[in-house]
Amino acid sequence: MQFMLLFSRQGKLRLQKWYVPLSDKEKKKITRELVQTVLARKPKMCSFLEWRDLKIVYKRYASLYFCCAIEDQDNELITLEIIHRYVELLDKYFGSVCELDIIFNFEKAYFILDEFLLGGEVQETSKKNVLKAIEQADLLQEFSSVAQSCPTLCDPMNRSTPGLPVHHQLLEFTQTHVHRVGDAIQPPHPVVPFSSCPQSLGLRKRLFLGWRKVECACILRKRANAESNEKQE
């Protein structure tokens, strides 16, 4: 795979990942051209097209287009499922992922992608394993933020494998704590004034339909959590 682009129906680029060296100018040109080409296509059209000397494989999930450029001998259908698996991973991680999750947590979207694809090739196809890797990172994060307050606990640098039991406890602790805060303190006004975003409806549309019933609640909760974390610090 040469690159992957995520962009919205309005043509806004949400994520770009390049697996071949290109200048910024060239990247912008490619993006512009491809976004235009793909957006111009009608819903029932096929998911593949020839573009320059590459093959483009794309699929739309709710308001987001996922678009991959592969080489001539690469397999189109399996690329389509690479996209799907990535969406599944995002969905599982964010819990009913929507475009807003990817906007506000773009760095996470990149991290998840790196665990799944590396150098343009599939690295790990097991959903469990990818999420485990990301969770481990998140554990380290929780861990280090707690470790800050009690520096004697340990230094993560010295561990070849994160001590899972300890982490688990810590995790549970923070988790319940945050939950409580999140549930108790309903922000008087949302941190992010979603209602004022013109395309907020589309943005909050889950990429997976019928995956879970909660739609906006999770986002609001996440925002609340973010705020509470901020306060903690």
Binding site: C46, E50, Q73, I78, E81, E124, S126, P193
Partner: protein, 978 residues
Amino acid sequence: MPAVSKGDGMRGLAVFISDIRNCKSKEAEIKRINKELANIRSKFKGDKALDGYSKKKYVCKLLFIFLLGHDIDFGHMEAVNLLSSNKYTEKQIGYLFISVLVNSNSELIRLINNAIKNDLASRNPTFMCLALHCIANVGSREMGEAFAADIPRILVAGDSMDSVKQSAALCLLRLYKASPDLVPMGEWTARVVHLLNDQHMGVVTAAVSLITCLCKKNPDDFKTCVSLAVSRLSRIVSSASTDLQDYTYYFVPAPWLSVKLLRLLQCYPPPEDAAVKGRLVECLETVLNKAQEPPKSKKVQHSNAKNAILFETISLIIHYDSEPNLLVRACNQLGQFLQHRETNLRYLALESMCTLASSEFSHEAVKTHIDTVINALKTERDVSVRQRAADLLYAMCDRSNAKQIVSEMLRYLETADYAIREEIVLKVAILAEKYAVDYSWYVDTILNLIRIAGDYVSEEVWYRVLQIVTNRDDVQGYAAKTVFEALQAPACHENMVKVGGYILGEFGNLIAGDPRSSPPVQFSLLHSKFHLCSVATRALLLSTYIKFINLFPETKATIQGVLRAGSQLRNADVELQQRAVEYLTLSSVASTDVLATVLEEMPPFPERESSILAKLKRKKGPGAGSALDDSRRDPSSHDINGGVEPTPSTVSTPSPSADLLGLRAAPPPAAPPAPSGAGNLLVDVFSDSPATQPGLGPSPEEAFLSELEPPAPESPMALLADPAPAADPGPEDIGPPIPEADELLNKFVCRNNGVLFENQLLQIGVKSEFRQNLGRMYLFYGNKTSVQFQNFSPTVVHPGDLQTHLAVQTKRVASQVDGGAQVQQVLNIECLRDFLTPPLLSVRFRYGGAPQSLTLKLPVTINKFFQPTEMAAQDFFQRWKQLSLPQQEAQKIFKANHPMDAEVTKAKLLGFGSALLDNVDPNPENFVGAGIIQTKALQVGCLLRLEPNAQAQMYRLTLRTSKEPVSRHLCELLAQQF
């Protein structure tokens, strides 16, 4: 899954992002961004040291701004600082920033490499993975230099965690792709191959990609991977849908790994080891079988994953191209997909079939789907699918379906997307040329192309049609007539004017006999387009005009007037001005003979690869032309009329090694020649039966037959070489005609151009034109050896009293013919009275000191002076009755020597010179013709009737003329043609 915030709570970032999102305009957004950039800059520059969290937050904001499409020129240092933070999230954001934003020549690269080195050495797998991801994402040469040696070690180390191995494999792959020279091969390579056996499916998945890439460059070093890959694949394919747990995707076991393994196998030929091969074939069969099973899930993911493996399997089968059984099964499977309701599958099936079409085993099987594919071309709503259909039609085309496919593609062209028109034009042009059975169809097709999509017809395409028309004399008359008709459209494309201008300039004389396309009409038609054309086209037309002056002396005054006009002589364009001045002077200064020589008809072009094909290959990259190159799949392409390249025997002028004008020089400017206006064939411009015009010459079938005739052996009689006598030697001076002379002569009864004679030394080509009782013949003598012929002297001899019947004026030719060179001799012929025997051509020369001599019959027969006469049935019968004296009729009943094809017969009769009269004979199978033989002394009216009897394979030919010997002679001549 914890429900905590997955972001690490950078509130400032979230606020900033939502601010940006709330901006109502681009300007507002830029303003907000600039404010933020100023803020970050001041923080970074401030005296107060920033804590890790703030640094992370600001770096993240910069990253966000960059991803919005703005340039970021600071913050790199802060990001590098984050790399050595002991907090994971800070490190992670630092790496992300570096991966996205760092350019390879950054002076920070040393610092970055240091941080990476530390993390790689940390033995903390999470950190190691972060560092490896960063190398893989940047993939620069500097990183290669720093780490290419370390990563193989990490990859094969016994104590590396699985996740680290996975990242290391793909990281190495990226470095290897970027700079293969930096990755040292060594002891590790053998161990990498054994990763195919790893227990961890994720490790295998990552490793296969690396191995595949390494295999392509060093196939021998990695040969052992084939059997390992086969056994791995076999285990996956035969596993139940739940065996592989999390590696099963929608009931399909390990689809990604399967596809990668099948890709890997495509780097090698089929396994030599019978056991391995058997196991592999079993796998492939299992995949094909599974495709027929009912789906285990209705989800599209299930079918996609399953079919991804199926398509990759088919690719491997095509790659091996050795298992007819599997190839045909693959084709049938794809055939099912052609009508699948999923657009994606239809698209892929069309694409895959393209490659199947080039295998000799499956070409026929692919062809059976032609109707479905044509239907796809017509009805698919998605242009990319239609394009695949067009590609497939191109790939499956062969002699049997060329006409159908070309006409479908022409129809598609009318509505095709602009982006792909040029490609379709090229494809149609190539197919029409390659599979042309008669070249009139080819000419029609190309002119249609220009008509439908003139803008997309590149130079290569219209150069090529001129090249072919110039080289194939059997199509010249038809081409002239057709372009003349095409030019009559009120609006025609400039490319049509170019083609028309060139062809009429060369061959306009072939249709000049018809008053509707008389020389002045041709000229004014062309000139009516002149003012609308570009400079290049106008330049071409000027050359056509000067050729007209030579072809049609009666147009001289008009054309000189045009050339003399101020708009030409003082044209601002230098090229046009120069042409006008030079042509005007040439036409007024030069004698008719000089003009005829300067403006002689273009010699045939040397054959080479079709430039159109070359262009298509350029456009589509290598392999695009494969459908055509790959002649093995189409044995028929070697048959008689092979296609593209006219064989030497059908080229009008033999030019053994003369490399004349290249294709690029095809249009006239280089050397505008034309035949003199003396000779002319009368082609009825408005006739309805295009393929059968006089001047068409023999059909290709016949041309082939003549090619099969053994070349006449060298004359055994070597007479004393006599340096070119000034006068015709008496008949006693030359030997009798060679035994094949009559046979060779017969080839030219119905045609005017071709190869008269050929042996190991010499080739003699003929090109001739006749009008009324006059004719001009060009003889081309080609020296096929590399040694000079000396004392070369061709002479024409009139046996008996022929001289009183036929006057032949010859011009002397140079007495030396260099090796590989060709000389030309012009003969002016005048028919004085009717004659029965042709003149003789005696050629004498010295080759390597040995005198050589041969005598041929010059292909001038009485029928050359035929003028076709159209008449109604009533008139015909009236004249027929008038010629009822027994001696006026000659009749012959004879057996057919060639297949009895009405079209061929028609063409021959027209080539013979008489007009063909429709609706005269009550039996439509019969042919009736009429014409007048023009001699200086008298005219002889001729009527003829030919009755084929297909059942008996016999013909009855009846001729009635006003002169008894003429009837008999014509009857003899014509009877030998069938």
